[in-house]
Subunit: 337 residues, 2 copies
Amino acid sequence: MEKKKKPRLSDVALLAGVSIGSASKALSEPDKVRPDTLARVKDAVQRLGYIADGTARALASRRSRTVGTILPTISNPIYAAFVQALQKQLAALGYHLIVASHEYDDEVELDLARGLIERGADALVLIGSEHHPRLSHLLDSAEIPTVAAWSYSPFGAHPFVGFNDRTGGQIAVRHLLGLGHRRFAILSGPTTGNERQRARISGIIETLSAHGLECPPDCRLEMPFSISSGDAAFRAVQQMAVAPTALVCCSDLLALGFMSAAAREGLRIPDQMSVTGFGDIEIGKLVHPALTTVRVPIEEIGTKTASMVVELIANPAAGTSADVEVDLAIRASTGPA
Amino acid sequence: MEKKKKPRLSDVALLAGVSIGSASKALSEPDKVRPDTLARVKDAVQRLGYIADGTARALASRRSRTVGTILPTISNPIYAAFVQALQKQLAALGYHLIVASHEYDDEVELDLARGLIERGADALVLIGSEHHPRLSHLLDSAEIPTVAAWSYSPFGAHPFVGFNDRTGGQIAVRHLLGLGHRRFAILSGPTTGNERQRARISGIIETLSAHGLECPPDCRLEMPFSISSGDAAFRAVQQMAVAPTALVCCSDLLALGFMSAAAREGLRIPDQMSVTGFGDIEIGKLVHPALTTVRVPIEEIGTKTASMVVELIANPAAGTSADVEVDLAIRASTGPA
DNA sequence: TTGTACGCGTTATCAA
DNA sequence: TTGATAACGCGTACAA
């Protein structure tokens, strides 16, 4: 019943009574063959249940129609949503997506990049623009198109798709200032190797100073990106010399973790303290109080990244970076000082 | 400075002063060559910055060292966590992971499967065991190793990795019965093409009947998997002929959505109604009240799936399915009737 | 243990 | 427009 051997293109050509070259063209460039040969080839494909061998195709054409992405982690909802959008658009453009995660280890990231290049990825999507020192060289010598997503500056000569993190920090603080807050604390993820976190912090601090407010180092907390960081963050905030009335977080996950700890410890938000997040992941709307946060168009970043990556594959010189806008989603976790 | 052409294996062999065959072996089976040839090859690789061409390797070896997975969506935290674990373990075993999502459309799923096969994936990971009628034929004729994750029965002849959904439904209900509840409602995702949802519902209903309780069709709600379904679900529950004191959800997302709507509408949980979820996604602990839910070892499913898939690639006949245990995470969303 | 030579299945070039 | 043929870069029997 079943054919023992998988049909090859030559089998299709034979059955269709055309040359193997014509069969190939019929499948890849249908407009470039006569209608009847196209029909016969298509018919033969149907009858044989022919499925092209992408591996051989990739070798001969030097294009795998695959792009690789290296993320910190897929578990963070913000990257999950990003990958979903990226994958969807890539699929629409005829590309597959290989995902890899380094869990915040840039040595691992470097290895993963090497692996993806070796694997034949046509392009790479990285997060941010600060990476292992050797990664840049690697990408250059491999001459692989790369885009820095979630970034607001190029990574080397590679274009980016992202938004102004600094602005994000600013609008969060302005909102809080408008509510009458004067004593702030900042909770961010690790800042080394993460220019986005640093930019957000800068936006926060500079807005504060513009209003004559200080944010001494003692008011700045740096914790791993995870909900469970909330506990330690809560304790640290409680022990601050000057008790803040507002906590500006550079990540939704961190904000949510803090609020969870606060609820457990009986600190009322926003009555006793206002909290803002960054990213606008879906669950921010579900918690009580709902999280006021800097809204980032995650899907748009994913979609634009996909389009740019495909453009870059077609024309490696086409590096026109794109930026998206952020704004503030005002919900219930912030209130008057 | 830069080499214009990328070095090939023959260049490595030349520089190392060995044959191309030896160079190949040195890289793939280091134990099978003399130490000094190995050293010379490695040295040449270093000096040339040689990166193997995975495409050519795949064509010659008929192994791409890539597995593909087709999910409903990566946005659902439960699949995001799954992919993260799957990818991590696969990477540890030397495999890349291509992700694709069909967003609950089995025609799309079929096309994606075809694409992954064409692409040369060594194996496929699917979710559940009910798919497009033609998918089974496709997998058979392509002879591609496949595992059904999140499933408790084989998909055709393909092994599964999952848990007893029915048991999950049972333990949720038993907990509620123990709290004195007698009037139940069920909220599930779409049941067509989703044997897991049906099994969970069965587990719920049969446990109810075992205790002499009915759950008329009027008490069963079916909504799309999404937090926003919570609003419609809330309204539907309010209009039920017999007001339930407990809502058993077959998905955390749905439970969370319902609780969000309930909070907005002033329905107090668990005082006026108890709610249980299914899956135990991380955010269930953050909402207030924290969600009582059937805990599923998501990471374990991902890890075991990865191991099984690699095993299956090595030995396609090795189909030994694996199941994991579920239990109940009792938190604050359930209370006395 | 090492080297030779062929095969993997397709695309691309070029002549007809 | 079509057909023959040379790459594509590596794995792998088989022979030495």
